[in-house]
Amino acid sequence: MISRRDRPHIPPPRLGACLLGWLLPDEERSETMGDFEERFQTKVCERGAAAARIWYGFQVLRLVPYLVKDHILWSCIMFRNNLIIAWRNINRSKVYSALNILGLAAGMAVFILIMLYVRYELSFDRYHENARNIYRVIKQEPGAYLGSNLSAVTPAPLAPALIQDFPEVLAAARIKDRPDILINIGEKYFLEKKFYWADPQTFEIFSFPLVRGDRGTVLKDPFAVVLSEREAHRLFGGIDPVGQIIVYHTSDKTFEFKVSGVFRDIPANSHFVMDIIAPFETLTKVENLFWINNWNANSFHIYIRLKDRTDERTLESKLPAFIEKHAGSGQGQFLLQPLTRIHLTSRVNFGLAPTGDARFVFLFASIAVLVLAIACVNYMNLAIARSLKRTKEVGLRKIVGATKGQIIRQFLGDSMTITFLAFLLAVAGVLLALPAFRAFVEREIVFNPLRDMTLLPGLVLLAAAVGAVAGSYPAFFISAFQPVFTLKSAGASRIKGRWLRNGLIVFQFAASIALIVCTVGVRSQLRYIRNKDMGYEREQIVVLPVRQSRSLQANIGAVKTELKRNADVLNVAASLSLPNNINSRTGANWPGKSTSDQIPIFIEFADYDYLDVFGLKIVQGRNFSRAFPSDANGAHLINESAQKALGWADPVGGDFGSEGKWVWPPLGKIVGVVRDFHMNSLHNPVVPLDIALAPNIAYFNNLSIKIRGQNIPATLAFIRKTWERFAPEYPFEYTFFDEIFDRAYRAEQRLGTMFSAFAGLTVFIACLGLLGLASFTAEQKTKEIGIRKVLGASTSGVIALLSREFLKWVVLANVIAWPIGYFAMRSWLRNFAYRTSLTVPMFLGAGLAAFAIAAAVIGLQTYRAAAANPADSIRYE
C-alpha cells in the first residue's frame, strides 16, 4: 500500500465525473462529488488506478436510478404546481383564454384535416405488396393534346411482347375499361359502371386478394368473371355468387358469363377501381375488335411488374429498339411510369380515372402550415401582451429563488396546458367537420386516432410541437425580466421585443390579405367563366347518355321524332360529344393534301339539329340540311380556327376528309364555317375543329334535348316515359347541360371555396390576436388616456391615437401581401388560355377589407378605454 502523500494525484475518470455533475442537482453536487472523489482516492491506494476507475464508473451507474427517481418525483410535483397556476390563469381571464384556445384550436383543426387529406393523397396505390416494382406503360407523342403529350393508352400486343423479350418483366396485363355495360341476372337488369376486361396476370401484378376462387385459374375460362365483394353483394345479395350466370349485353348480342371468384374491394385510394373483371382475350369475341392486335391501336392500359431491384430506366432505354423491331418506326416513345406516382404526378391523358393534382396537394399543405403558424403567432402575441400583467409574479418568483429555467418551464407549462385544451377542441372540431370536408375533397378520409397507429403519435407530436413553438418565445421573453424593474410598477410599461410583436402582426395580416387576394382572384376567374360567352348555349338543355343504352341508340331516329311530339321540346340533337368538351383529335385530311401539311384537328360527329340545339352560329355557308340530300353522303362544318389553319378563304363546297368506313374525318363536302366556340375548358385555346355529319348511329353518345323554360317537371316526365318505352331495361339518367358545364370547373370552384374558407379563418385568427393586443395596449395606457382627456382630448381622438399604432402595421402588411398575391394569382391564371385580368381594385379591396375588419376590432376594443372617466383612470394602479 502506497502512502497517499507519495503518489501523484490521479483525477477520477472524466466521463464519469461529468455524468455525475450533470445528473446531480445543484445543491448536492459538491457534497456527492466530493464523497465520490475521496472514496476513489482510497481505492486508488488500495487497488490501483485502473480498478479504481472501474469502481468509480460502477458507482456512478448505481447512482443513476436513484437520481432519476428523484428527478421525476420533483418534476411531477412542479408540473402539478405549474398546472394549477396555468389553470388559475386560464380561469382568471376567461375571455383572453378563450381567444387563445379558440385561435389555436382552429389552426390545429385545419392543420389536422389537411394533413389527413395530404396523407390520403400520398397513400394512393402504396398498399400493393409490389408497389415499387409495378409500372404503367405510357406513350409520349409529339404535340401536346389538352396540355400534355403523354397518354396512358398503348397497343395491346405490347404486353405479350414485353414478357417475351425481357426476362425482367415478370408479368404484364392489358386492361380495357368498359363503362356503362348492361347486364342481367335472370329478370333483373343492372348497369355496370366499373366493368373491366383484364388479363389474368392482373392478379399477379396488383395485390387484389381473392376471397373466392384461385388466383391462377380464376380467369382461365374465357367466359368467367370475377366480382368485387361489394358488387357480388349488390348483384346477388346473400346468395353465393360463385357459379352464377351473368348475361352481358352488346348492342345486338348477349353473352353468358359465369362468376368464378370474388376479390376483396379495391381500396378507394387506388388510381382506378374495378368491380367486375372479365378475361381480356374474350373482348374480341364479344365486341367486333378486329384491330385489337394492331400496333397502331392505342386503346389499352398496360401494367407490368418487374423483378425486384430492376432499374426501370435501363429497361426504358431498351424500349425504342424493341418497338422498332415489333411495330416499325414512327410509333412515338414508350415510357414506364411508377405505379405510386400515377395518382399525384401524372399529367397523362386517357387514364382509367381522374387523378389527383400534386400542385393542389402542395398548395393545401402549405396553407395548412401557414394557418398553423398564424395560430402560433397569435398565441405568442397574446401571451406576451398578457405576460406584462404577470411581471410582478415573475419578479417575485425570481426573488424567492426561481431560476430562469424554472420560469421558462412554468410558462411552457402554461402554453402546453392551453395547447392541450385547444387540441381537444381541435379534435372535436375535426370530427365535426370531417363529413363536410370529405365531401369537399371527394376522398374517403377516415379519422380514427385510436385505431390508426401512425396517427396517434403524430397528433401527440403536433400538440407538443405547437405548445413548444407557441410557448417558447413568450417563455424566454418573460423569464428574462429583471426582478428589480418588474417590481417597480414602471417596469410594466417597459415593453421589450416590440418590433418582433409588430412583425408578428404584419405576418398575420400579410398572410390574410394574400389569401383574400387569392380568393378574389379565383372568384373573379370563376365569374369570368360563368359570364363568358362560350359561343354555345347551355341553358335548358337536357342531356341523356345514349351510349349505354344500345336499343335507344339503335332507334335514335324514332326517339327523336317521339320526343319532338311534345310542345315543350324545342329540338333534339344526337352527337358524339358535347360542345363544351370535344376531345377527339385526328389529323386533318383532304384530297390533294401534301404530306407536309400536318394540321391536327378536333372532330365532333353530330346530326342535323346539333347547331340549332346548342345555338352555334354559322358565319359562312349553311348548316347541315335535310333539304340537301347530298349531305347524307358526307358533310362538314369547320370552325373559323380551322379555316384559318387550313388557309382557305372560301372553304364552302370543298372536299374534306378521306375515304373509308371508319376513317376520321370521313370524306364529304364542307358546307359551312361555324363561328369559333369554346369547345374545351377555358384552360385550352380554341383550335381547329371539324363537325362532321355522323355517317351512322354508332357515333352517338349523347342525346341533347332543348326544352322550353316552362313545365320542366312535366317535360322531364315525358322524356322519362319516352326513354322507358325505348329502353326499359336501362335506368333513366339525365343531366342538365349547364351542370355538365359547371362540373368541368369543379377543381377551380373547390380552389375558390378553399381560399375563401382559409382567408376567413386567417382573418379571424389575426383579429383574435389584434383584439388581445389592443386591449392590452389600452390597459397599459390607461393613465395616458386619462391625462389626455383631462387636457381636452375627445373620445374619438383617443381611439384614433390607440388604433393608429396597429393600423399602420396592417397597412404595411398590405404592401407585403400584394406582390405575393399578385404573383400567385398570375401564375394560376396562366393555366387558362382565357382569363380575367387582375385589377387594382381587387388588391385595394382586399387590403381595405382587412383594414376595415382590423379597425373595427381595435375601435371596439379601445372605445371602452377611451370613453372611461379620466377621474377613475388617473387613479388607476
Partner: protein, 107 residues
Amino acid sequence: MILLSRAEETVLLAILGLKEKAYGVSILEYIQQKTGMEWSLAQTYDPLKKLVRKGYAVKTKGEPTPERGGRAKTLYRLTNQGREALVEIRRVQESLWTAVPKGVLTP
C-alpha cells in the same frame, strides 16, 4: 410516529457512532466495517436525504480536503428528533424480540 426503515436506522446509528465526523464516505466505511457488507454510496445517499427531510439529521458544512478534489465535506449530525426515533425503534424491536417465545429461533 412512523418507524425508521432498516437503512435509515443503520445510517442514523452510523452518524451517532461517528460523532462529529459523519459525512458520506465515513458513514459508508463505518457501515461496511460494522456490518461486513458491501455498500455503495448511492445506498447511503437515499436514506441520508430522507433523514434530513424528516428532520432526524441536519447537514453542516465541513472543511475541504485535497482527497475530495478540494470540495467541502457535508457533515451530518443527529437532531433530538433523530435520537428519539432511534430510541423508539429500539424499544419497538426489543418488545418484539422479547415477545418471541424462547427456543423458537435458537434450538
